[in-house]
């Protein structure tokens, strides 16, 4: 077939069929206004209810976080006091045993006190690193509104 003959072939006209696919996605820390507007369209007043629930939820979360942090700080102080007492008791027992003429027992008391506190330090440091790494992984994942069911991802 020559180039000329190819040009003579009539072009096949497509049927008047159109396919339109719409996909909406959003990447934002807060849901787009359209989603809220859809709820408002279902029944007027829903958007206001959502905002009220949001304010309540926000206040509840902040209050909860405050309580948890305050409790954790108290626990931390308690740990500090307990650690201090362990250290003091260990040093006291070592001095007492040395004064009584029991160097072996004194060494055991002294070493066990120091080793336990250093062990707690190392363990705490490890746990701290693990927790911070986990936070780095999870903190920036956005929460999604699941339209099909009420699960929050």
């Amino acid at each position: 077939m020559t180039k000329k003959s190819l040009q003579n072939i009539p072009e096949k006209k497509p049927n008047n069929l159109a396919v339109r696919a719409t996909s909406i996605s959003y990447q934002s820390p807060i849901p787009p206004p359209e989603i809220i507007a859809h709820y408002e369209a279902i029944q007027p007043g829903f958007a206001e209810r959502i905002m009220k629930a949001f304010e309540k939820q926000s206040a509840h979360r902040q209050n909860l976080e405050k309580i948890v942090i305050e409790a954790d700080i108290k626990k931390s102080y308690l740990g500090l006091v307990c650690g201090f007492l362990i250290g003091i008791c260990s040093i006291g027992a070592t001095i007492w045993m040395t004064a009584l003429g029991n160097p072996v027992t004194a060494t055991i008391f002294g070493t066990s006190g120091i080793v336990s506190l250093v062990g707690v330090f190392v363990y705490g440091k490890k746990e701290q690193t693990k927790q911070l790494d986990k936070k780095q992984e999870e903190a920036f994942k956005p929460a999604n509104i699941d339209v099909d069911d009420n699960k929050t991802k």
């Binding site: 626990k75 931390s76 102080y77 307990c82 650690g83 250290g87 330090f121 705490g124 920036f140």
Partner: protein
């Protein structure tokens, strides 16, 4: 909690105990950023993600109410 306390770990009993031998003051560790701008960016992003979480929770609460 992960977002709000991103910078630091939650204080705990073990952490408090460990501070007894933390003479050098290097026990505390933070999620650091390479530059101050990056730190600001992350802080703003996490603040808004918290707001988003609350809004999503609110939407889900209202959705449950609607279903009832």
């Amino acid at each position: 909690m992960t977002r709000s306390n991103y910078l630091f770990t939650e204080p705990s009993f073990v952490e408090g105990m460990a501070h007894v031998v933390d003479i050098g003051g290097n026990f505390a560790k933070y999620n650091e950023s390479k530059t101050p701008s990056e730190a600001d960016y992350k802080a703003i992003q996490l603040d808004w993600l918290c707001v988003g979480d609350d809004l999503v929770s609110a939407v889900n609460i209202v959705k449950k109410e609607i279903k009832k």
